[in-house]
Structures are given as structure tokens and as C-alpha cells.
């Protein structure tokens, strides 16, 4: 028992590990709460595309700042907010089907990002961090930004809880109650974009969609009430974050993969358990 506690506690004497712990839990909570709406509104593909779309922005920032990590948050934030509103606008024009339009933008932007990064000499290592995350490399300044913006996302979700619930469940009712439905839809897109930027360093862009979708989907199998779904999803996601953090520390597994694998395992267990019960 003491060895297990030692095993868990000892790494936390390192400052980078403490930061990683806070980052993993924070990202888990924010992703899961926002992800509840991603799941309920069938926006998984949008979330996936959005995460991939911010790669060229981050890559450009990486070149401009000469490899420094801190400014990347701002590049990620700017790119993902622009991309979310851009994708939102394009999908509203009826010329091309929504998923096709998203697919084109997503792959094109991702390719551009890879192209930019590949011009840098140390590209294999850096690319892997962008794609799959590096929770052990989160700096204190990055962490402060993540906490501010992640907290802001949660605050807005709470403040507009009844409005987001209504536009998601019954857009026609929302319009008869004269809610600014388009504005709220765009606000939700921006919140997803901010979430993606906040989570980029912890889970990476390639696996981001899993953090948005998997914990919320797992929770949806366990409860049929939205507030419980959010709390359950957030708990499972932050637990996944913690397990991923230790896997990263002890076995050198890329943090994004470790976190996502844990979340997926949760889902499989719950899914099979529910099936067994029925």
C-alpha cells in the first residue's frame, strides 16, 4: 500500500508534474462539459475538424516565435476561434453539404500545418507534441492561461445553461421565445474553439475529438439528466487525465494517447456493463 502511495506521491515533488496534474484535470473537466453539447448536437466531426484546423496557426506561431512554447496558446486560440466561425459560416451556405465542406477545410488546413512544421529541422519531436500532446511540458505561464480561459468557458456554459439547453433541444421553441439563436449557436462554436486551444498542449490536436466526445458519451450511457451527465463526464475525463499523466511519467507514453486510451477504456467498460444489464 505504501509503495503504491509512494508511486503516486513521489513524482508530485517535481514542479512539472504538479503543473501536469492541474493541466490534466482542468482539460478533462472543460472538454467533458463542453463535449456534452458536442455529443448532444452531433458535432463530433466539427470538433475533430476544428482541432486539426488549428495546426497551421500553431505551426506558424512556432516559426515566428522561434520555437518558444508560451505564445503558441495565443496562436492556437486565434486560429481555432477564426476556424470555428469560418466553418460555421460555410456550413450554413447550402451549396455544399455540411460534412463535405468540413472535410475539405479540415484536411487542407491540417496538410498546411504539417507542411509548415516539416520545414523545421527538429520536426519529428515537435510535430509529435502538437499532434499528441505533452502534458509534462506545460509551463506555469501556459497553465495560468489555460486556467483563465478554461474557467471562462465553464462560467459561460453555466451562465447560459438554460439558453444552450433550449437551443439544443428545441430550436423552434428558442425562436418563439425570441432567443438570439444564431448568436448563441456561434457562441457555442467559439466555446468549443477555446476548449480546443486550452487542451492543445495536453492532448494534442489529433486526438482532441476523443476528449470532447468519449467522456460525454460514456456519461450519456449512465444518466438521462444533463447536469449529471456533465458532472459524470467531467469526473471520468479528469480521472483519465490523471491516469494518462502517470502513464506519461512512468512509461514515457505520449500524454494524449495515454489519456484518450484511458477514456476509451472507461467507455468500453460502461458500454459492455450496460449491455450486460439489459
Amino acid at each position: 500500500m505504501t509503495t503504491l502511495i509512494d508511486w503516486l506521491i513521489t513524482p508530485l515533488s517535481y514542479a512539472f508534474m504538479q503543473r501536469g496534474l492541474v493541466a490534466a484535470v482542468l482539460v478533462g473537466i472543460v472538454c467533458a462539459v463542453v463535449g456534452t453539447y458536442v455529443v448532444l448536437r452531433s458535432m463530433a466531426f466539427f470538433g475533430d475538424a476544428l482541432a486539426h484546423t488549428l495546426l497551421p496557426g500553431v505551426a506558424l506561431g512556432y516559426l515566428v516565435s522561434g520555437g518558444a512554447r508560451e505564445p503558441l496558446f495565443w496562436w492556437a486560440l486565434g486560429t481555432s476561434v477564426l476556424a470555428s466561425l469560418g466553418i460555421g459560416a460555410i456550413t450554413r451556405s447550402a451549396r455544399i453539404k455540411e460534412d463535405t465542406a468540413i472535410g475539405i477545410i479540415f484536411a487542407g488546413m491540417f496538410a498546411l500545418g504539417i507542411a509548415i512544421i516539416s520545414t523545421v529541422r527538429s520536426y519529428a519531436v515537435d510535430l509529435s507534441h502538437f499532434l499528441f500532446g505533452d502534458v509534462l511540458g506545460v509551463s506555469s505561464r501556459s497553465l495560468v492561461l489555460m486556467a483563465i480561459f478554461g474557467g471562462l468557458v465553464l462560467l459561460i456554459i453555466l451562465a447560459f445553461y438554460k439558453e444552450f439547453l433550449t437551443i439544443s433541444f428545441d430550436p423552434v421553441l428558442a425562436r418563439t421565445l425570441r432567443l438570439p439563436v444564431n448568436l448563441l449557436n456561434n457562441l457555442l462554436l467559439v466555446l468549443i474553439a477555446v476548449t480546443v486551444a486550452v487542451s492543445m498542449q495536453t492532448v494534442g490536436v489529433a486526438l482532441m475529438v476523443a476528449m470532447l466526445v468519449t467522456p460525454a458519451a460514456t456519461a450519456s450511457l449512465l444518466t438521462r439528466r444533463l447536469p449529471y451527465m456533465m458532472v459524470l463526464a467531467a469526473s471520468m475525463a479528469s480521472l483519465s487525465g490523471l491516469i494518462g499523466l502517470y502513464a506519461s511519467y512512468y512509461w514515457g507514453i505520449t500524454s494524449g494517447s495515454a489519456i484518450v486510451l484511458t477514456a476509451t477504456l472507461f467507455f468500453l467498460v460502461v458500454f459492455l456493463f450496460r449491455r450486460h444489464k439489459q
Binding site: 421553441l173 425562436r175 444533463l226
Partner: protein, 269 residues
């Protein structure tokens, strides 16, 4: 935001003039003009594709007409939160993680305002609305567990909680068994006692004749609008339904809708 327009009570509940709506390049509604008085119960009948849903959405202020105007108590529908829209059941995601009370409380959100949370009075209105539709016991029930009739009554409760004065119901009777239909129709009388004006789209000409004060026969334009006895006559109905109308021996009228929702056979005497 959350606009609130005062009612001019000397004006009709609903006053629609010269409404024209085009949808996907074809005409959906042409020159619709009518008005409703407070507490009236109006059935809107007509073949599939006649524009019933479109008319309701324009009246609710959800869809903007190409021409013409809608006035609710003397002003455009966009400023009013007193219009309750009861959707077709097929348009709702019944797996959504909300309870009956959650859905009914949604009717209150315009009154709660931004950053407002439900207070005691809101919960009282929600409970009262559920009691009116006979669903008090289902307060905390997940919506996916409701029967068809209960689903429909929950939406009426939501419109009541919204304190709707004009209620638009899009085919609320479709797909319900006879007892559920009767419970719902009985509820219409209850709404009238509360002074709520009701417009119901329906396929059932017989129910339209029995339970409603006036019947609007719609086929992109208003073919006829008046008491059931005048509107539901073979020579009038044939103008809307054409060769889908069958008049059997003994004067029984049957309408065959050949469109989308399986075999619909609606009857009237």
C-alpha cells in the same frame, strides 16, 4: 434581448394579411388573410403539402414571409413571447437527457431573462401546467419514457408555463390512439376556459367538425374558413383535396392522402 411587446387588447389576437411565402423556389402560401378572436379554437385542415406547418411557423415568427404581415395583439410576432408552438412529435429528439419538468420549465426562460434561474413562482407555474394536463405524477420522468399522448400533453404544459395566449399545434393528434386523442381534445376545452386561442393542424375532418369553433381549409391559399358545417361540404372540400376526396353512399366523406405518412384515411360526415 428577450424582447417584450405590450398587448393592445382591443386588437385581434391574430391578424394575418396578404401573406405570401415561397419555399425552395415554389409557392408555399399565397394571399393568406384571416383573423382570430381571443379564446377561439380553430382547426386547420388540408392535404399534405398544403402549407399548414409553414403557416404556423410564420405566425409563430420563426419564418419570415416574403410578403404580407402577421400581427399579434396589434404588433408583429417577433416581439411576442406569448405564442406557444407545439412541434410535431417526429421533430423531437426523445433521447435528449431532460426530464418532463426540464422541458416544461423551458417555457419559462423568456420570463426568467438573462442569467435568471427559476424561482418559486416558476416552479409553481410548471407544477400547475403539469396538473392541468394531468401529468403531475410524471414530473421527473425522462421524456423518452412517455407515451405519445403524454409527449403531446407535455408540450401543451410547456406552452401553458410559457403563459401562451396563442397556441399553435402541428398535427398533435397524428399517431395517437383513440383514448389519447380524446384526452387531448378534452384539454382543448380546458384551454378555452383559460382564454387561450388555439390553432390545430389536423388530418381528421370529423374531429375538426366536432371540437373546433371554426375550420380553415388550406391548400396554399385559404379555400374556405368558417363554421364546420359550411366548410366541410363535398363541393368545398373537393377544391382542396381534388381527386383524393371520396364521397361514399350516405354522405360519408373520406380523404385519401397519398403522400408520405403511410395510409392516412380521414373521415367526416
Amino acid at each position: 434581448m428577450y424582447p417584450h411587446t405590450d398587448h393592445q387588447t382591443d386588437q385581434p389576437v391574430l391578424d394575418v394579411r396578404g401573406l405570401n411565402v415561397r419555399y425552395d423556389g415554389r409557392s408555399a402560401l399565397e394571399e393568406i388573410t384571416f383573423h382570430l378572436h381571443a379564446g377561439e379554437r380553430v382547426a386547420v385542415v388540408g392535404p399534405n403539402g398544403a402549407g399548414k406547418s409553414t403557416l404556423f411557423k410564420v405566425v409563430a415568427g420563426v419564418l419570415t414571409p416574403d410578403r404580407g404581415e402577421v400581427r399579434v395583439y396589434g404588433s408583429g410576432p417577433g416581439g411576442h413571447v406569448c405564442i406557444g408552438y407545439v412541434p410535431q412529435r417526429s421533430q423531437v429528439d426523445w433521447h435528449f437527457p431532460v426530464s418532463v419538468a426540464d422541458v416544461v420549465m423551458m417555457g419559462r426562460i423568456a420570463k426568467l431573462g438573462w442569467l435568471g434561474w427559476p424561482r418559486k413562482r416558476d416552479w409553481e407555474l410548471v407544477r400547475g401546467a403539469l396538473a392541468t394536463v394531468g401529468m403531475s405524477a410524471l414530473f421527473g420522468r425522462q421524456i423518452g419514457e412517455l407515451s405519445g399522448g403524454q409527449q403531446q400533453r407535455m408540450f401543451i404544459a410547456r406552452a401553458l408555463a410559457q403563459e401562451a395566449e396563442l397556441m399553435l399545434m402541428d398535427e398533435p393528434l397524428t399517431g395517437l390512439d383513440t383514448p389519447s386523442q380524446e384526452a387531448l381534445l378534452a384539454l382543448l376545452g380546458e384551454l378555452q376556459r383559460k382564454g387561450v386561442t388555439v390553432m390545430v393542424a389536423t388530418h381528421d375532418l370529423q374531429q375538426a367538425a366536432v371540437y373546433f369553433d371554426r375550420v380553415m381549409l388550406l391548400n396554399r391559399r385559404i379555400v374556405a374558413f368558417g363554421p364546420a358545417g359550411q366548410v366541410l361540404q363535398p363541393e368545398v372540400l373537393v377544391q382542396a383535396y381534388g381527386n383524393r376526396l371520396r364521397v361514399a353512399n350516405g354522405g360519408t366523406i373520406a380523404v385519401m392522402d397519398t403522400c408520405c405518412e403511410g395510409d392516412e384515411h380521414d373521415h367526416a360526415h
